[in-house]
Symmetry: C2
Subunit: 194 residues, 2 copies
DNA sequence: CTCTACCCTTAACCTAGATTAAGAAATCAT
DNA sequence: ATGATTTCTTAATCTAGGTTAAGGGTAGAG
């Protein structure tokens, strides 16, 4: 069944009883996505909490000059959503786009709340999941303040080895908060200093 | 009883039963703090999850050049901790310092886990609390990438009206990721353009 | 297979914000 | 109250990274 991948992932935190697994029913919906397809478009409500089974996604905002800024990537076994919009059901300012063709499992607010209510331990799992993301984000804020673009690029390579050879540099630049041109300069520099 | 302030705050999310409140016992410990006192020192484990009853705190990291970077403020009815260090019980790289004399309630990992276990809905409350902080942090990352220092300063004033007249500009500058000198320039500019 | 759209690089020039230094103003502890 | 410590401001100079422009490379849809 399509839920299998999510359940397996959740059970890597805490095992679930058979009766609990049964509650998932068809609340998670399988959705294949094409390359470049957007599963969230700015201006619309973020209707789904998305689990990535296969593929690679980016969440980004667009500034007043039309420049895009990546705030998160998500690949296999990762979750992605504009949490603010998802919970308030108000329009999102963000976009989520597939960088590759892939497959996701999606759940609506009502259905996720149903699961939270009937499987209390899910609250704990999702608390842990978001704590992990929070820590990541906090480190990123700190790093953006205290490191040069070169240092940030190098630690991106270290921290996300499964991502960097899968993403175009232009996407990495956007994540680091620099222009592709400057990233190119940085890369050249690193090259010549080794 | 000293827990009163925390319980009242938690009940603003979901009411607790009398038997649940009883479980809090003396697990939260009252601690008065002096101005400049650190309740977390980099290199040590973050032993407590802290609820601010009164006062104002900053959490900050120090870079290799010795510059401090504020990553979060917390005033009345807010929570503060290095979540990563608290959960792993590994040394923190961050500091938490009182900007004013105040009063906090603190709980240790073991005791918080006890409450999570025996009052399942606490997981949900703390999930919501951290989700709110996550959203805040995400907006900050996006803003740092897409706005000038002036725009960021102005939205800080809007977003934290209860904080800006309480904090020295030098602390705000550190939060915005700029030098106090440049903030001074920015403020002068705003002044003359109105 | 190929052509079109994207991606990467280089280089010249430009700007937001950093650095340094120094004086004035505000605040704190005693 | 008062000296000591912080905080704020100004101004000159400097630099990380942005902007613009242009050529060559690569990969994906048909």
């Amino acid at each position: 069944m399509s839920n299998q991948a999510v359940i397996q992932h959740l059970e890597s935190f805490i095992p679930l009883k058979g009766s609990e697994k049964a509650l998932f029913g068809d609340r998670f919906v399988t959705r294949p996505v094409k390359r470049r397809e957007k599963i969230l478009v700015a201006g619309e409500v973020c209707k789904y909490y998305t689990f990535v089974v296969e593929g690679c996604f980016r969440m980004f905002g667009v500034d007043d000059k039309g420049f895009e800024h990546n705030i998160q990537f998500a690949a296999e076994k990762d979750w992605i959503a504009d949490i603010g919009s998802f919970h308030t059901q108000k329009p999102s300012q963000l976009n989520i786009e597939a960088l590759e063709a892939g497959l996701v499992l999606q759940i609506k607010q009502q259905d996720l709340y149903f699961l939270y209510k009937n499987i209390p331990k899910l609250n704990m799992i999702f608390k842990v999941l978001i704590e992990l993301k929070y820590i990541e984000l906090q480190n990123r804020v700190l790093q953006n303040f205290s490191s040069t673009a070169e240092q940030r690029y190098l630690s991106f390579l270290e921290q996300y080895p499964h991502l960097f050879n899968r993403l175009p540099n232009t996407q990495i630049a956007s994540y680091l908060g620099i222009t592709p041109e400057f990233l190119s300069k940085v890369r050249k520099n690193i090259q010549s200093n080794r």
